[in-house]
């Protein structure tokens, strides 16, 4: 029942009464539970709450009251997004026991359309990673659904992994700071859509780097991802950086061949097979193309990104000190000693590294050279993008320079080499440009994703192009 259906098809069947929401929810919860011991996609499976919600949706369908866009559609949610009453830890031990008093705006909107929240997905601790291997203390690392020796990519690894694994209708709400939706989508072979910064409210998002964080959608198809974006997007007065935009019908967009810019530097630095598959996909599309050069983004993107993101992250993480929520320790010593104990025990290695890096970058004496300079660089890099969009509609590049690496290979990488893997995803994220990763081919057991980037608020163009790529690569 319900296998292989798109969200739109599923919703039609549900409304006709051909699919029982309760049964479908039960089925996907069981799959999540059963697969978790091997794949570890979920930090928490919200069985009870999901079934309660499913019961309510089912009842409203039977009485014909349900007018929602997503009745009964199971959604998994990245752990860093607050769900009321459901432990939300952002993948960190330090948030053990934190049950938000409120739903994130995206959750509220999804629920209002009848979606069922089935659980919180695995991520790198606070989003600090590219392979979802930097999980918090006591958390499991998710395994790639195509090959368990490989990683899922991060940081929204659990969301991508489960979306790829399940045959049931399902989508996921992810979050990207520097590529955390596109990367795992590419490694797991699903669609990962990151909107323009400010398009989707961040209210209820446990922050990594507020000026970069974007909540987005992940689905099996471009249409699924676009539909979920349509539900969660829109102005929210609770988020001061939310953009005042008319609601768009992202789910009704038709494929279109637009002028594609091929980003020279981002192709150059990729593994040859990845480069080849991505070029093939663009060829199959048969669209007009033009080579675009983004030298500044390629040269300074990663440096600026890591300085800004760690600076902001180190302030965001200051509040985790064992006083009001999350991890507590035995009260001993003065407050400084107590805070240090909680933080020493609660954060894993990469979180500590980024706190140190970020604190350093904003310290008096270094602030001008690092933090402020990176902020200025960001403005320049955005300008470079804007110039490119005066020539083409969307930009294309491989989402990741490699296919999903094995855990063995990852262990050999230094932190700096790991950061360098974000080369292709970081520029669009730093500039706040909407981008989407679409699976275009398999490299053996590992999927390859093509990333399409559009100008600010040009999600429509991005989705048009993505639909065209998707159908060309079927």
């Amino acid at each position: 029942m319900g296998e292989g259906l798109s969200i739109k098809q599923f919703v039609t069947e549900v409304k006709k009464g051909n699919i029982s929401v309760l049964e479908h929810t039960e089925k996907i919860l069981s799959e999540a539970e059963q697969s978790n011991s091997q794949y570890h996609y979920f930090n928490l499976i919200a069985r009870e709450a999901a079934l309660k919600q499913a019961g309510e949706v089912e009842a409203s369908i039977k009485t014909g009251r349900n007018k929602g866009m997503l009745p009964g559609v199971p959604l998994s949610v990245k752990d860093c997004i607050c769900v009321q009453g459901i432990e939300s830890r952002a993948g960190s031990k330090i948030l053990s026991g934190y049950e938000p008093l409120f739903d994130a705006t995206v959750i509220e909107r999804a629920r209002a359309e009848g979606a069922i929240i089935i659980g919180k997905t695995s991520q790198d601790e606070f989003g600090f990673g590219t392979f979802n291997t930097n999980v918090g203390i006591g958390f499991e690392i998710p395994k790639n659904p195509h090959d368990i020796k490989r990683c899922c990519g991060g940081s929204s690894g659990g969301s991508a992994g489960f979306t790829a694994l399940t045959k049931l209708t399902h989508a996921s709400i992810g979050e990207s700071t520097g590529g955390s939706i596109a990367c795992p989508a590419s490694f797991c072979g699903v669609v990962g859509l990151t909107p323009t910064y400010g398009r989707v409210s961040r209210y209820g998002l446990i922050d990594y780097a507020n000026s970069l964080d974007k909540i987005g959608s992940m689905g099996k198809t471009v249409e699924d991802a676009a539909l979920l974006l349509e539900v969660i997007a829109g102005y929210d007065s609770n988020d001061s950086t939310s953009l005042k935009q008319e609601k768009d019908d992202f789910s009704k967009i038709e494929p279109s061949k637009l002028k594609i810019g091929i980003v020279k530097e981002l192709f150059e630095n990729c593994d040859a097979p990845v480069k080849k598959e991505c070029m093939n996909a663009i060829k199959k599309l048969g669209a007009k193309t033009q080579e675009i050069s983004l030298p500044l983004n390629a040269k300074y993107g990663i440096a600026a990104y890591y300085i800004i993101s760690t600076s902001e992250a180190s302030t965001n993480l200051a509040r985790y000190c064992g006083m009001r929520y999350g991890l507590h320790e035995k009260l001993e010593g003065n407050f400084n000693e107590y805070f240090s104990k909680v933080r020493s025990n609660g954060f894993n290695k990469e979180a500590k590294r980024r706190i140190l890096l970020g604190t350093f970058a904003r310290m008096a004496g270094f602030r001008d050279a690092y933090y402020l300079r990176a902020m200025k660089a960001r403005t320049r890099l955005i300008r470079e993008f804007k110039e490119a969009f005066s020539k083409v509609d969307v930009l294309a590049n491989p989402t990741m320079p490699i296919v999903a690496p094995t855990f063995e290979a990852i262990e050999k990488l230094t932190p700096l080499q790991q950061y360098a893997m974000d080369l292709c995803t970081v520029p669009a994220n730093l500039a706040g440009m909407p981008h989407i990763s679409v699976p275009v081919a398999m490299q053996g057991k590992a999927p390859v994703g093509l990333m399409l980037t559009a100008d600010h608020l040009q999600e429509k163009k991005m989705i048009q192009a993505a639909l065209a790529v998707e159908s060309a690569c079927k």
Partner: protein, 467 residues
């Protein structure tokens, strides 16, 4: 160097009297500890701040009233440090570009004090030490205060005595009260006081509460530093705290170096942009402030400087005066308000703003007094009853039967005439000479053609002499 060699600069933090907090909808006034807080002011993960437009408007008014240049674009910053009263372990404040810069305020003697900057920020929570600081091995935290809007006003080091610092704070709080952005009864004022003497090291006395506290802390600190120098000892650059009980300052343990707050732009809030026209409009809408009003009172009503200042210092009093002055002789109104009315206010510790007094009522009472239909004593009683019990003066006079009939007024006039013409007898009477009383009564009887009742004449003379 100032002439006495004392250099003082203040960083004042004043709570603005908005209804809700700076970044959330929680009420600023609450009795029960931790009864006015929410995920935002508690810093819960996932919550986000939204700027209170009223608080921003208040801060802009303060900057303009302090003659600052208002920035056309400014933003908030994060000041990060760990402390148990901080809900996020960073404070949302302003750093690079505050609301306003380069202002000035005049002290009561006319001396101009430079204002370095005016900015808006959030108050941390309050730490409660149930058994007193030091005595208890734990602290409680009350988050009702967390997120209350504060305006920070930083002065140039232009103040040259603790008294000038006090005067500055008086001027500042008067301006804030005039703008109706500050309630002296419920809003707290705290200041970090920087002080150095004879060009020696600068000492910062942190977090002193109240205007009197600032004056006392500075007095102690100046004396302490002068003493050190007299004994040929060095003043060390340090941060000290002020103990209100002993009225002394002491060195705070630990950090001697400047703290590094690692400021970054607050990424959850957007920059605020204002046009020149908007700023100009706001400036035009500012009310007349007390210095200007005092000058106007002197010119318009021919008042002396002291009286004009007292009237203008309190916004409500000034307003009351102007209304009453339309109906009765301004000089009389001014004297009555500054002496009789304010005496009752100060003695009974009343808040004039909360009393909601009617200018018409007070004017009616003053008219009765001027027509000699009530005695000064009766008028005083009536104003006490009005201020403390809310009974209207005219009602009070009637209920108590204090209105004199026509005859009484004539007698009173006669008494005044006789007393004025017989200074010697009056002086004698004051020393207890009974014969003088009889003499004076006789004179009044003569003047009123024996129509007055002698016992009443005696009573009025006694009242007048007592004053």
């Amino acid at each position: 160097m100032e002439k006495n060699g004392i250099v003082i600069g203040l960083e004042c933090h004043i709570q603005l009297n908005t209804d809700s907090k700076l970044f959330c909808g929680c009420r600023t006034q609450a009795e029960e500890p931790n009864s006015s807080c929410c995920p935002i002011c508690l810093g819960h993960p996932g919550s986000k701040p939204v700027l209170n437009a009223k608080a921003l408007n208040y801060a802009l008014q303060v900057a303009l009233a302090l003659n600052c240049e208002v920035n056309k674009e400014f933003f908030f910053s994060r000041k990060t440090y760990f402390y148990p009263d901080m809900s996020k372990d960073f404070q949302i404040t302003q750093y690079e570009i505050p609301v306003g810069v380069k202002g000035h305020v005049a002290l009561s003697n006319g001396k101009r004090i430079g204002i370095t900057r005016v900015h808006l920020e959030e108050d941390p929570a309050a730490l409660v030490h149930e058994a007193g600081l030091g005595a208890s091995n734990f602290s409680l935290v009350d988050y009702n205060r967390s997120g209350i809007p504060l305006v920070e006003v930083v002065t140039e080091p232009d103040l040259s005595s603790p008294q000038e610092a006090r005067d500055f704070l008086d001027q500042l709080t008067t301006i804030l009260s005039y703008l109706k952005v500050y309630s002296p009864s419920s809003g707290t004022l705290k200041a970090d006081c920087n002080v150095s003497v004879y060009g020696n090291a600068r000492v910062e006395v942190k977090n002193v509460t109240g205007k009197r506290g600032v004056e006392k802390a500075l007095e102690f600190e100046v004396a302490r530093q002068k003493n050190l120098l007299l004994n040929e000892r060095e003043v060390v650059r340090e941060t000290r705290s002020f103990d209100e009980k002993s009225m002394t300052t002491k060195a705070t343990r630990g950090k001697e170096t400047e703290e590094d707050y690692g400021y970054i732009f607050e990424p959850d809030l957007t920059a605020i942009r204002l046009s020149t026209a908007e700023i100009k409009k706001m400036k035009q809408r500012l009310p007349e402030l007390h210095a200007a009003k005092s000058k106007r009172f002197m010119q318009e009503f021919n008042l002396d400087e002291y009286t004009a200042n007292v009237l203008a210092r309190n916004f409500t009093l000034g307003l009351l005066f102007e209304e009453i002055a339309k109906q009765v002789e301004p000089m009389i109104a001014a004297k009555f308000l500054t002496r009789e009315l304010m005496a009752v206010v100060n003695r009974s510790g009343l808040d004039l703003n909360a009393l909601d007094l009617s200018a018409d009522e007070i004017a009616s009472l003053l008219s009765l007094l001027l027509d000699r239909r009530v005695t000064e004593k009766a008028a005083k009683e009536a104003i006490i009853a009005y201020l403390t019990k809310g009974e209207k003066p005219t009602q009070f006079i009637e209920r108590q039967g204090l209105a004199m009939d026509l005859q009484e007024r004539d007698i009173e006039k006669a008494v005044e005439k006789v007393l004025a013409e017989n200074k010697k007898a009056v002086a004698d009477l004051k020393t207890g000479n009974k014969k003088s009383l009889n003499f004076l009564v006789g004179q009044v009887m003569h003047l009123t053609k024996a129509k007055a009742e002698p016992r009443l004449v005696q009573k009025i003379i006694a009242e007048k002499i007592k004053g």
